[in-house]
């Protein structure tokens, strides 16, 4: 547990805004406080800003899921779609899914199918691990690179 003094932080924040600074760091024997404000004029917002705002891109297929996955820190655990297509979680309608959450899988084990061009492509486990999350629903369309599931 790190103790800190909210009033000092607030005071620093006020000075930051008042002076137009973007960062203040204060350090002494007790410890240090650093307050930062994203500069209002950096290029990054300009980049975003210069895009026409009316016609925002509409991602197909689960923007929410993709956003959740994007928030997952250990991206090396994510299995991404290698192709565009439709997801099948079981070999045929009604049958048991290839994998379920909590299940351990071995390298090369089929995780799900993606149908593209009337062909069912087996998506196999790139490594052994445990399925901790399935990020797509059966029948959902997926883009290239879209997160499918998490294998830890």
């Amino acid at each position: 547990m790190i103790a800190f003094d909210p009033e000092t932080v607030r005071a620093l924040a006020n000075i930051l805004v008042e002076t137009g600074l973007t960062e203040i760091e204060v350090e002494n024997k007790e410890g240090s406080i650093r307050v930062v404000r994203a500069p209002p004029t950096v290029m990054a917002p300009t980049v975003v800003a210069s895009m026409p705002v009316i016609a925002a891109p509409v991602a197909v297929a689960h923007p929410a899921t993709a956003a959740q996955a994007a928030a997952e820190p250990p991206s090396e655990n994510v299995v991404n779609s290698p192709m565009v297509g439709i997801v099948y979680l079981s070999a045929e309608p009604g049958s048991a899914p290839f994998v379920t959450v909590g299940q351990s899988v071995v390298v090369g084990q089929t995780l799900l199918l993606i149908e593209a061009m009337k062909t069912f492509n087996q998506i196999k486990a790139p490594r052994a691990g445990t399925v901790t999350r399935i990020l797509i629903a059966a029948g959902a369309p997926v883009e290239y690179g879209e997160p499918l599931l998490i294998l830890e």
Binding site: M43, T46, V47, V48, S50, M51, P52, A55, A56, P57, V58, A59, V60, A61, M83, V84, G85, I86, A116, M117, P141, V142, E143, Y144, G145, E146
Partner: protein, 450 residues
Amino acid sequence: MLFQKILIANRGEIALRIQRACRELGIPTVAVHSTADATAMHVRLADESVCIGPPAARDSYLNMAAILSAATITGADAVHPGYGFLSENASFAEMVEAHGLTFIGPSSAHIRMMGDKIAAKTAMASLGVPLVPGSPGAVADLDEARAVSARIQYPVLIKAAAGGGGRGMRVAGSEDKLEEAWSQARTEARAAFGNDAVYIEKYLDRPRHIEMQVLADSHGGVVHFGERDCSLQRRHQKVLEEAGSPALDAAARDALGETVTAALMKLGYRNAGTLEFLYQDGQFAFIEMNTRLQVEHPVTEMVCGVDLVREQIRIAAGQRLGYTQADVSFVGHAIECRINAEDPVTFVPDPGRVTAFHAPGGLGVRVDSALYAGYVVPPYYDSLIAKLIVHAPTRAEAIARMRRSLAEFAVLGIKTTLPLHQRIIEDPSFQAGDYTIHWLEHFMAAQAAE
């Protein structure tokens, strides 16, 4: 509604161009893109987008399965291929149709026919389109060579029938040079190909590249939209195009247009197409046909007041042109400069972040570009980043307008070929319209020597 949803199987400025036409027609669009293009303008402005693969074009923009899957999962009912990539791939057109979708372009049979350059020439000759004058086949002996050459007039080119790569090829500038050229070509042909059969063609030493834009509907309507002069080329890449050609008058345009439309009518061609010709001494010689929209289509749009992409979509939906040749008029003059992300002297590509982008505006100025400030030009694709097109009542005014527009155009952070265009348009020969397909290489060599 012409279509429920159109998938645009391309990227960059042409994807944006097609997107604009779709939006004006009220048709929703699907952009496909590689991972390198996730923030590209064509993606951001589309109604939907699908990532179809990694940066390499063969895995994304050339990935037919991924593109068709994207069409399927988004419910698109038509595919516009743009130019380049899969636009002249007959198999792709077939696959699109096989999936019950409409390919916005000609039939796969015509794409295939025109993709084979020899078959294309044979077909066009049979349809009455002029080729380079020459012997109908191999020439038996020197006497026949003399007769053919006298008919087609010197200079002539003696070419190995089995030839290629410039071997077994000799120019005879006049009759007294014919015998020597004849023996040399045969000797070289025998040595190179084990076959000394040669044929003779008129040698074009200073041709212009002139092409004719055509639209054909599926009800027999065929109309041409005049010519474009694309003689300014570097390594067979067009650099600057004009409509009309400084070398043609209305009578020459009409005559060529009649030949071309008659041929495509007989062929039963459909959608947009362009016939490319070499033009010298008042004679046209067919080179090839492009069965797609072309990069330089805007100059035609400017002088004819037609939206060629809109027309492509309407034709693909089975609509009639709704106008005849007599309804097409040519107003003023248009010039297009292709702006590439390249060093303007060495032509080394220069991808990277565009720190500032400010397009010229005002009367008679059109910019087709998918750039924006902050965009990173990826290193994986063509270096074309913008097309600057101007239109004015006369060619001289169009050049003046291009001059002031080039001066207003700011693309910072990367090198562009804007300075090259600024030099070209100040050249007296260019201003006089006096150039051939070799002009630009000579111009650049002269500039380099200075």
